[in-house]
């Protein structure tokens, strides 16, 4: 019971941090908006056109995207780690990030500028390939698939380097210049996939005991693995299409959650998602605030959130491995 209580408290405190992050994101930016103006816009009583655009089209979607993509990445991490039973697996291990990048590069070269759709198609295509090729050994297949897709992407970029800057945002992970359209593409997934993951949690608990035990508990093992992998890959694909292949969120959030609430997936899924959401949106706040003051910040597109999560996540990973070794 204490674990359940702790999980509830964690989710609640993550939610309150998320509210704080939303407030901070709405108030921080190049254009000075007072708290009163922001509240007026949110309650629909503002007739200040520019403020409405800034808040509703840019700032609010950006923080919501950060929270949503972070939650989906962390959740996908839990599922991938459950399927391959490897604590170092993460959404990037499935190759969908490379698929998204390839989609963007190919579409830009063919003259389409719907980069979000291209990233989504590429990511889902890579996920489909993984499901077709890697049923037996998804971890190895995902890494190999990612390597091939990355090589093809690099090959295309050598032939024509013009999409490099637009694809970097998917390779590194960035929420800069995301707008309301990106959010409206993400929220339907956010409303459905976590529910699916939570419903799969008892199966994942059984599978964690080992294949033989899972079978004797009456779990349809093969179906379970495929269904969990599908949910994991789709979650990673939509999150990466929205925010890019942000490093370490899908790896670190599940591990921290496991430290805090143990390995029961019914608690692990919601707690990881909550932590991932806060982690990504918080890192994005850091990236954005640093980017404003950086010399020459107006020339580059801003500091990508992937850089911040990478710098924050790497020491955590090293710590995790050291602990694993004891």
């Amino acid at each position: 019971m204490s674990r359940l209580l702790r999980a509830v408290l964690l989710v609640l405190s993550a939610a309150s941090v998320a509210v704080g992050l939303v407030a901070a994101h709405l108030l921080v930016g190049r254009s000075e908006l007072s708290a009163g103006e922001v509240v007026e816009v949110l309650t629909g009583r503002s007739d200040h056109g520019a403020a409405r655009v800034i808040v509703l089209r840019y700032r609010l979607p950006r923080v919501l995207l950060g929270l949503g993509a972070g939650a989906l990445l962390a959740m996908s991490g839990v599922l991938v780690q459950a399927v391959v039973r490897n604590p170092l697996a993460e959404p990037a291990t499935t190759g969908v990030g490379s698929g998204a990048a390839l989609g963007v590069v190919a579409a830009t070269m063919l003259g389409f500028h719907a980069t979000y759709a291209a990233a989504l198609v590429g990511a889902l295509g890579a996920g489909l390939l993984l499901l077709l090729l890697g049923r037996r050994s998804p971890a190895v297949a995902g890494i190999l698939l990612g390597a091939v897709l990355a090589a093809v992407t690099a090959l295309l970029l050598v032939v024509d380097s013009s999409p490099t800057s637009s694809v970097m945002r998917w390779l590194v992970g960035s929420l800069n210049a995301r707008t309301a359209g990106d959010w409206s593409a993400l929220w339907p997934w956010l409303a459905t996939l976590p529910v699916a993951a939570w419903l799969l949690a008892p199966w994942m608990n059984a599978w964690a005991l080992g294949a033989a035990q899972a079978i004797s508990l009456g779990v349809p093992v093969r179906t379970t693995r495929v269904v969990v992998l599908v949910v994991a890959v789709v979650a990673a694909a939509v999150a990466i299409a929205a925010a890019g292949a942000v490093a370490f969120v899908g790896l670190v959030a599940p591990h921290v959650a496991r430290l805090l609430v143990g390995s029961d997936h019914r608690l692990l899924v919601p707690v990881s998602a909550a932590l991932g959401a806060v982690l990504l949106a918080g890192s994005d706040l850091i990236a954005f605030s640093v980017g404003i003051d950086l010399p020459g910040a107006r020339d580059v597109a801003g500091v990508p959130v992937g850089a911040v999560t990478a710098l924050l996540g790497a020491p955590v990973l090293v710590h995790l491995v050291r602990k694993e070794l004891r």
């Binding site: 391959v84 170092l88 890697g134 037996r136 050994s137 971890a139 190895v140 297949a141 190999l144 390597a147 091939v148 990355a150 090589a151 093809v152 690099a154 090959l155 970029l157 050598v158 032939v159 380097s161 490099t164 800057s165 970097m168 590194v172 960035s174 490093a247 370490f248 020339d299 580059v300 500091v303 990508p304 992937g306 850089a307 911040v308 990478a310 710098l311 996540g313 790497a314 020491p315 990973l317 090293v318 995790l320 491995v321 694993e324 070794l325």
Partner: protein, 329 residues
């Protein structure tokens, strides 16, 4: 034994043919007699490009390929892991951190010094992994290498990502080429640096092979045979780091050569004996890299593709065949 020697000789002959082709094919394609003339006669119109561009580049491919293959053999046999490769040691990511920082932040580093700095980064990453793993033995030793290597690689990767995020478009295009591995525009100086690392590493590898072969029998049997398991494993890791680090510093991470050459050698020579595999794998690795480099500079001529792309596109399907046939992981 004889089969291995024949295969090694065959691989060496293939390597010679690959080197000759690589020297002859390019912007100006030369016949063998013409090639000889171009290399020896200072008045010949392509003398400079043959002697100072094509020759060092081809030899660099051969030396680097042999070094990577030796690193692969040592790692796979010393760790008992058939998919081990120098990427486990984090050396190329260590080199990448230095290269990325210098490129993107425009550090005032002379071009001649940059490879040495990258080498320092690569060796530092390799040493961190080897020292963190320690001279341990027992069933956990290989797992420890994999975990620590993955952590160091990921940490360095994080730094590279962060640095790339700060770069302007031109820097990033430049950097991407290095991060894929390339033999383009490397001269005699680069060859000298790589040879200084790879040749001693190859000799040390030859000396180590008998002890490493004993490790493959399991730690207990190896100890019973009088092999100091922990020390041999540490030496193997250090030698592999030296070879892989020098290659990574000059050529970037040339993927999959170190992984594939030993497998190809084992299949072709029909043996798993470490000394024989090393003997065959070295010329096989050289040939692989020289041919891949030839393909990557001629396939889309005049555009040059980084050689890492070619080795990945060839390496991954072969690796998939080798690994995915086994039981589910």
């Amino acid at each position: 034994m004889y089969r291995s020697l024949v295969v090694a000789a065959g691989a060496a002959a293939l390597l010679a043919a690959a080197l000759l082709t690589s020297l002859a094919v390019g912007a100006a394609t030369l016949s063998p007699p013409e090639l000889l003339l171009a290399l020896t006669d200072p008045q010949h119109p392509v003398h400079v490009s043959a002697l100072h561009v094509r020759l060092p580049r081809a030899l660099l491919g051969a030396v680097a390929g042999a070094g990577l293959a030796a690193a692969g053999v040592l790692l796979q046999d010393a760790l008992g892991n058939p998919v081990a490769g120098p990427e486990l040691l984090g050396v190329s990511s260590g080199a990448a951190v230095v290269a990325a920082t210098a490129t993107v932040l425009h550090l005032p580093v002379p071009l001649q010094v940059l490879p040495l700095l990258s080498l320092a980064g690569a060796l530092a990453a390799g040493l961190v992994v080897v020292l963190a793993v320690g001279p341990g033995s027992g069933p956990g030793a290989s797992t420890r290498v994999v975990l620590v290597g993955a952590a160091v690689t990921a940490a360095c990767g994080g730094v590279v990502v962060a640095v790339i995020g700060l770069g302007t478009e031109g820097d990033v295009v430049l950097l991407m080429r290095y991060l894929l591995g390339s033999l383009s525009a490397r001269g005699w100086n680069d060859l000298a640096v790589v040879a200084l690392g790879v040749v001693p590493a190859l000799l040390a590898a030859l000396l180590l092979t008998r002890s490493v072969a004993a490790l493959r029998l399991g730690d207990h049997v190896a100890t019973g045979l009088g092999v100091s398991v922990a020390r041999v494993r540490l030496m193997a890791l250090l030698v592999a780091s030296l070879a892989a680090a020098t290659v990574a510093a000059i050529c970037g991470p040339v993927a999959y050569v170190a992984l594939l050459a030993p497998h190809v050698a084992r299949a072709a020579a029909g043996t798993t004996s470490t000394p024989l595999v090393l003997l065959v794998a070295a010329p096989v690795g050289s040939t692989l890299l020289v041919v891949a480099d030839l393909a990557s500079r001629t396939a889309f001529y005049p555009v040059e593709v980084p050689v890492g792309i070619a080795t990945t596109l060839v390496g991954v399907p072969l690796l998939a065949l080798l690994t995915l046939r086994g039981r589910p992981a």
